[in-house]
Amino acid sequence: MNRIIKYIAVAVVCLATMPVWAQETDVDTPIPVADKWERWGPTSRTGFGFQLKMGYSIGGYSPLPIPREIRQIQKFSPQGGISVGVEGYKMFNRRWGLKIGVTLANQGFSTRAEVKNYYTKIVLDGEEQKGWFTGINETSINNWTLTIPVMATLRMSPRWHVSMGPYLQMFLSKNFDAKVHGFPEAERAEDAYLRVDHGDGSGPTQDKNIFGPEKEATTSLGKDMVFCTAGVELLFDWKITKHIGAFGKLDWGFTSIFPGDYDTVRFKMFPIFGTIGGAYCF
């Protein structure tokens, strides 16, 4: 968690320092308001424009709200995070326009959580056990995604754009690896177990499979993930110079990364990622 706070702090400092000198130039050479719009505005008379963007994205897949089966998140660490994209826009008038983008992003993180009665599947060589697991679950995820948002964009001021609209996000590669194991503490040596689900509707009433401190089992759920998810993107653009800008955006998925009838992970996992970066505006 500390690492996340650190990233946020870095982002805030970077962004907070940039506008300071930018504003000063404004003061030195006062320009009439109308000229300002021209000066910072789209470069072409037609109101078309492109932006190349590169950034760092951070976030995760999370059920909303966090289900009660997850008792304690012991570790969260982001991984990867490269985001490269291109956006095109068409301004219909001075304030309103449409924006369409394509972003290639790497979404990665790993977590370790204590779970209780967490329904899962341990799969190995095509043989699997499903059931309710109590113990430690470690998940490591690293996916490449292609996100295509279609957004309305509002030019709030000569240098500020805010855009919002739906997106589709496709998974180009899918890695969702989980590992379950027992509690490392000796006094909880017999507290971790899988209550096997025989699939006959008898529920957690049959085999109980104790995971001692050393025992672990793994599973890969990547292949079970959906092809694409949908959500809403909220994007802020700010121009540093006429051609160089900074941006921050939030992609909030409204559909789960697993199919709706998926019974290995019984709650919906929504991708939620924030990205910050720089842009070159043609």
């Binding site: 968690m1 996340i4 706070i5 990233y7 946020i8 982002a11 805030v12 962004l15 907070a16 951070i58 976030g59 995760g60 999370s62 709200p65 966090i66 289900p67 009660r68 089966e69 997850i70 998140i73 977590t111 209780k116 009665n117 190995l124 060589d125 043989e127 699997e128 056990q129 001021s157 240098r159 500020w160 027992g182 177990y193 209550r195 096997v196 025989h198 699939g199 006959d200 529920g203 957690p204 009433t205 049959q206 085999d207 109980k208 499979n209 104790i210 001692g212 050393e214 025992k215 672990e216 089992a217 793994t218 802020f236 700010w238 921050g248 939030l250 939620i272 990622f273 924030g274 910050i276």
Partner: protein
């Protein structure tokens, strides 16, 4: 503002992720609904159960049914039932088809072996589980001499699910087998198959470790194949790479299979028959590669099968159930007898349990003898499997009451429990036969009571020999006597009786005596029992008692002085514990300087023994004793009943004293400089003659000074009166004589004698004597080393007046060898009248005299003479006292100048004048010798109250000085004059002819 908006939005985007992972909801509701444990709680469980432990059962997670086995003749009713269920779950009991909330302690009706249903609902309400609980009578005991297990056609496939094809399960239907090898309601052979499904659930039934072989037996019927299989990657990951085929009676707790597979196998079921042999048809093919649990091949080792039959006591001394598991099935101390295929072992002696423990040895040359060809084997049950030297006793009554359990076990890899073995090792097994002892062979049971036994976990705590715990009755005797150890605690021992056919045993109150009831057979207690035959016609009274062995002689096993820091007393810590010698002497070697006036003495005595000290008082071990005298102290040990005694003697033996010295002597006072010139003088060591001398000041008060003698510790000092002298005690050293002190070492072995005295200094003084007069100038002259200037006399002047005078005619001369004689000489010269100087006084003083001219004297007269002399020389001490020894004979004719004056008597003068010399600039002259203002003090004979007689007189003058400047004194700023004259007024040319002053010496005392 816009900037803030951007930052805010970014913060929102990022922190929302953070918030998501940090908000944790309440714990989920529990979803499990197991009964973990069920127990029937009775005041006397043995009323209906064969064993106390049968009243409680721990369910396996997968189980939903339990049948309590009760005595074959127990009348069943309603009993209070207690259950422990999963956390959060709620229990219901089904009454008339309706679920009624169940509360612990509720009476549950078990009449007629009816099945009671319990429904457990989980906290979330999502799941429930229904349990069936009942009681079932054990079959009445019938003699069984053998049972045959054929594994023929009694297998089905179970555990089938949508994804798992399932596995084979063998269910016994032969009541002879189910009633003796299986728990009621659970007639299923156990093996690793249910655990294997967890690791390779997709395996086909034939791919499991334990499978049937249709018509594959030696006799053409079905047999069992035990096949060591790989567990696949899941098992490998948990270091259980293989699963050996197995078959045993008992329980398999699959929940522990992956975590602790050996603990998952709980082997054996109570059986009322004593096995003596196991037989089977066997065929074995060892797998090609023996591997360890990490799948490393171990070369040179061949896999071996296993088959065994074990009988063990199924409860411990506290009545808790004992069930063997995969860890201890062949080593548990409750095991009584073992029949097992032959293997190579190391038998390791266990001192604590007094038995050998077999440790398997892996070899390439097994000795089990099973080959790939079918063969029939027969293995006897060894009742001394652990090689204790005696056979374990099976209590027949306990046996019949199912106090022993039997395990029939087999496996394709004998080390399979430790996940070692060869994949594809195959044991084919068929027609396993267990042969039991025929109790009819035991002999006569027509006696009302055939035998009595006291079965305890550790019989040797009570009985001299294990066999003494069972007494077989002989015809005609009604006394049952258990020989027991003298210290056996027989106040509450379980008595088991084996009544004859048709007989029932009653206690004195007429109630049926239940075997296993705890009775009091302590000393002098006799238990009366009645054995009645079925018709109640015949009643025989039996007595039961314990015969205690004589008490052994009480002994002290060891003695110990336990203190926090033993090395203050002992040279070695180990010396603090001693065992008695053959003559009952306990000697603690202690340091020479040990203090043992009060040391805690612990006496470790034989059981029940008590101790008295020499005074006949009871001695509590650990009490303080005084052993300082080094003599023996007696302790008497009594047996519990006081009939036996034993006497011991305890003492300390001091080590030789390593060193004995007297290091120094000291006089310690607050201000040492009052006594000593230097503070270091207050500490002295002895010289070679053992003399100690303290140099003290001449004026020190040493009539009572504290003397400390530093000697090796524990020494004793005696003064010259042979009285004990304590260091620091005051002694009188003022006599300056030696005082003797004797120092004796601890225990008086060594003695050192010292003589101590004070060396009292002399008062500082200068003694001026006149032995060394020199006559080379024609008259006597004296010099003195202590005088800064030489002595001045009137001799030279006299020689001018009387040139021919000899030295002995001059006024200042020696009389004899050492006496100074000053004589007022007559001046008979021609100048006498011119000088108005009829006499020349005998004068002596220190100072200088100017050179002298007769002409000037004649013209200058008296004042000239008076101006010649300069009195005194610098003196750096303050004079305090002058002592003179002198005598005086006055002359007869007294002259003033030239004039004879009658009636005058001459008198001498001796003086000492101390004066300030103003930095050497000032010298006293004759006219102001006693009057000058610079004078700081003087004494003189003339005019004082002192008189010099005509015989030798000792004179002492105290010199009072005043206003003496110490710095000037040290700097030579004071001078002193010592002088003497035969005519006190001689310097005024007066005196009597022939006045003679004799002076032996002049002593000036001064301050340091």
């Amino acid at each position: 503002m816009k900037i803030k908006l951007l930052i805010l939005s970014l913060l929102l985007a990022l922190s929302s992720t953070v918030l998501l992972v940090s908000c944790i909801a309440e714990a989920p509701l529990e979803i499990e609904c197991d009964i973990e444990e069920i127990s029937v709680q009775l005041e006397n469980p043995l009323d209906i159960f064969d064993q106390e432990s049968y009243a409680t059962y721990r369910f396996l997670p997968i189980e939903t049914k339990h049948v309590f086995s009760v005595k074959h003749n127990a009348a069943l009713g309603s009993y209070p039932v207690y259950i422990k269920t999963s956390k959060g779950s709620t229990a219901f009991i089904v009454i008339d088809g309706e679920e009624v909330p169940f509360e612990n302690g509720r009476l549950v009706n078990f009449t007629n072996e009816r099945v009671q249903k319990f429904v457990i609902r989980c906290e979330s309400g999502e799941w429930s589980k229904t349990y069936e609980v009942s009681m079932e009578h054990q079959p009445a005991y019938t003699v069984l001499t053998e049972m045959l297990i054929t594994f023929n056609g009694n297998y089905t496939i179970q555990g089938k699910t949508s994804t798992n094809p399932g596995y084979y399960v063998w269910t016994e239907t032969d009541p002879v087998i189910t009633k003796n090898l299986f728990r009621a309601g659970d007639p299923v052979w156990k093996n690793g198959n249910p655990g294997f499904i967890l690791s390779r659930g997709s395996a086909q039934p034939d791919e499991y470790p334990t499978i049937p072989v249709f018509n594959g037996g030696m006799d053409g019927s079905d047999c069992v194949e035990l096949h060591t299989r790989s567990t696949g990657s899941f098992g490998q990951m948990v270091h259980i790479p293989l699963a050996a085929g197995s078959m045993f009676n008992g329980l398999f707790d699959s929940s522990k299979a992956l975590n602790d597979a050996r603990k998952a196998t709980r082997m054996g079921v109570p059986c009322p028959h004593k096995p003596i042999r196991i037989e089977a048809d066997l065929r074995y093919e060892p797998g090609p590669k023996f591997q360890d649990s990490n799948e490393n091949e171990i070369t040179g080792v061949v896999d071996e099968p296993d088959l065994y039959c074990i009988i063990y006591r199924n409860a411990d001394e506290n009545g808790n159930a004992v069930v063997l598991d995969g860890d201890d099935v062949l080593t548990n101390k409750h095991i009584k007898g073992v029949a097992r295929l032959k293997h190579n072992y190391n038998m390791v002696w266990n001192e604590e349990e007094q038995r050998h423990i077999p440790e398997p040895v892996l070899t390439n040359s097994p000795i089990h003898g099973i080959t790939n060809e079918w063969q029939h084997v027969s293995i006897p049950v060894n009742y001394d499997f652990f090689q204790t030297g005696h056979e374990n006793v099976i209590d027949p009554i306990l046996l019949r009451n199912r106090g022993y359990s039997i395990v029939i076990g087999s496996t394709s890899s004998w080390r399979g429990g430790y996940f070692e073995g060869a994949l594809d090792s195959k044991l084919y097994m068929d027609n396993v036969k267990v042969v039991f002892e025929d109790p009819e062979d035991e002999g006569d049971t027509t006696l009302p009571i055939a035998s009595a036994s006291i079965i305890v976990d550790d019989p040797l705590a009570l009985f001299p020999e294990e066999g003494d715990s069972i007494q077989y009755m002989e015809e005609g005797t009604t006394e049952i006597v258990f020989p027991v150890k003298w210290d056996a605690d027989m106040t509450s021992v379980p008595l088991t009786l084996h009544p004859g056919q048709g007989y029932t045993v009653y206690d004195e109150a007429g109630k049926v005596f239940v075997s296993g009831t705890k009775v009091d057979l302590s000393k002098d207690k006799v238990l009366k029992l009645k054995a009645r035959d079925a018709e109640g016609k015949l009643e025989i009274i039996y007595t039961v008692r314990a015969k205690f062995e004589d008490q052994p002689v009480p002994t002290i096993l060891s003695a110990c002085i336990k203190i926090a820091s033993p090395l203050t007393i002992f040279n070695n810590v180990g010396d603090s514990v001693q065992t008695p010698s053959a003559s009952n002497e306990i000697i603690f070697p202690v340091r020479w300087d040990a203090v043992v006036t009060a040391v805690p003495l612990t006496l470790n005595v034989s059981k029940w023994a008590t101790v008295q000290d020499a005074g006949g008082n009871s001695f509590v071990s650990g009490s303080n004793v005084d052993l300082s005298d080094g003599q023996f102290h007696q302790f008497k040990v009594f047996s519990q009943d006081g009939t036996q005694t034993n006497t011991y003697k305890v003492k300390v033996k001091y080590a030789e004293q390593a060193e004995f010295t007297v290091s120094s002597f000291s006089i310690v006072v607050n201000n040492p400089l009052e006594i000593f010139k230097q503070a270091t003088d207050s500490v002295q060591t002895a010289n070679e003659a053992n003399e100690v001398v303290f140099p003290v000041r001449w004026n020190a008060d040493v009539t009572a000074v504290p003397l400390t003698i530093h000697a090796t510790k524990f020494s004793t000092i005696y003064d010259e009166n042979e009285e004990v002298f304590t260091s620091g005690q005051k002694v009188n050293l003022s006599d300056g004589e030696f005082h003797t002190f004797t120092v004796k070492s601890r225990f008086g072995k060594n003695t050192l004698t010292y003589k101590v005295r004070a060396d009292i200094g002399q008062e500082p003084r200068y003694v001026f004597s006149f032995e060394n007069g020199n006559t080379s100038s024609g008259y006597y002259t004296w010099t003195d080393a202590n005088l800064a200037s030489s002595w001045v006399t009137t001799n030279p002047m006299f020689k001018v007046l009387r040139t021919g005078a000899s030295a002995s005619e001059c006024p200042a001369r020696k009389d004899g060898t050492s006496v100074l004689l000053l004589e007022t000489a007559a001046n008979n010269s021609t100048y006498a009248s011119m000088l108005k100087m009829r006499t020349v006084p005998g004068m002596l003083f220190n100072g200088t005299m100017d050179s002298y001219s007769l002409q000037q004297a004649m013209s200058g007269g008296l004042s000239y003479f008076q101006s010649l002399a300069h009195y005194g020389a610098p003196f750096k001490h303050k004079p305090t006292k002058m002592k003179v020894r002198a005598k005086y004979i006055p002359g007869e004719k007294y002259y003033k100048g030239n004039t004879y004056t009658a009636g005058e008597t001459d008198s001498p003068d001796i003086y000492c004048v101390f004066y300030r010399n103003m930095g050497g600039q000032f010298v006293l002259s004759a006219t102001d010798l006693f009057t000058h203002g610079n004078i700081a003090g003087y004494v003189r004979l003339h005019g004082s109250s002192k008189q010099v007689g005509t015989t030798w007189t000792d004179l002492e003058f105290k010199i009072e000085t005043y206003n003496v400047d110490a710095a000037a004194l040290a700097d030579g700023g004071y001078s002193m004059v010592i002088g003497a004259t035969s005519s006190w007024n001689g310097h005024n040319m007066e005196g009597a002819e022939g006045s003679k002053l004799y002076i032996e010496s002049i002593t000036i005392f001064y301050e340091d």
